[in-house]
Chain length 195, copies 2
């Protein structure tokens, strides 16, 4: 792998574990087995530029992963349930490490790092666009599809934080039940019984 790629990959790995502020450039080059000068040769913007590249790359990969988990299921509810179950298993097996750096980083940079907030926002927007497309194929209206994919993403993000903190897969499973129930109401018009 090329030096610049190794740097980006190492940054992404550290970002999802520690966030942006706690991750040092020296730590990144040690993990990437690269000399520190290479960072500033390939990324004149320094630490921030490396982080931007890492967020974009990981964001795209993670968006494809979620799509790949949902796409095989013709039924929305089935797809969502299996995606959350898969996520719960993965995060537990990997020792409670976040699956994607975007969620870890977005919260700490939303106010203090405009450039990184902007990149994170672009990643979220791409995920939403992909999800809207997928859910529209399953018969949802534009508004419902958009509302549902946002519910899926926010539930996953929030559940990951709690799961890593509690060292338990329970939050991911509970969040999955919740979003699946919402998806069910959007696909099968329920008749509410009185009382």
């Amino acid at each position: 792998m090329q030096t610049d790629q190794r740097i980006v990959v190492a940054m992404a790995e550290l970002l999802r574990r520690q966030g942006y502020a706690a991750t040092g450039i020296k730590q990144v080059v040690a993990a990437a087995e690269a000399p520190i000068g290479s960072v500033y040769h390939h990324f004149p913007g320094g630490k921030r530029a490396v982080a931007e590249a890492a967020l974009r790359q990981s964001g795209a990969a993670y968006g494809e992963l979620v799509t790949a988990l949902l796409a095989p299921h013709d039924d929305l509810v089935d797809g969502i349930e299996s995606a959350f179950a898969e996520a719960a298993a993965t995060i537990e097996q990997t020792g409670w490490v976040n699956m994607c750096p975007v969620s870890t980083v977005a919260g700490e940079v939303a106010d203090a790092e405009p450039a990184l907030r902007e990149v994170s926002a672009e990643v979220f927007d791409e995920w939403i666009t992909q999800g809207v497309g997928l859910f529209r194929e399953r018969g949802l209206s534009d508004d419902d599809a958009r509302s549902l994919i946002i519910a899926v993403i926010t539930a996953l993000e929030g559940a990951f934080v709690m799961a890593r903190t509690l060292r338990s897969g329970e939050p991911v499973l509970a969040a999955g039940r919740s979003v699946a129930a919402y998806a069910r109401t959007l696909t099968t018009p329920a008749t509410v019984s009185a009382g």
Copy 2:
């Protein structure tokens, strides 16, 4: 206000904006209008001890806030819908600052700061306990109550991160719709129509 209290409050405020690693003790004492020596006099554990106190205090206050938003409503679904709507309005009015430092900090310290992860876990557990009590009073079973409060918390957490990043209240509203739909399925047994 006492010096130690001002220090804790200033730390909490900075934590919810920037997270733990990016927040400096010098920044905290400047905001608290206290000499730096006071930090180590009142908190021998230094920065980490101040952050622990800030997380506990903010966690308790935020738990009471959510309870106060939910408690007045006899109907679960009404309470959840109004709580999320209130949250969306608040985060927008305050310039997209997070309402609570726990969610901002938990993600970045889950792997690297065991003491802070532990405190964050205690805060989450307290929120869950409070929510289970509240939802049981509304007639839910233990399991349903626990699943629902976890869904509420994770949805709020995840939605706040996305809202701050996108500078939009939409994620909080979408998350609220999703959780409210889940609560509705737990309270009103729905008859699903075929097709």
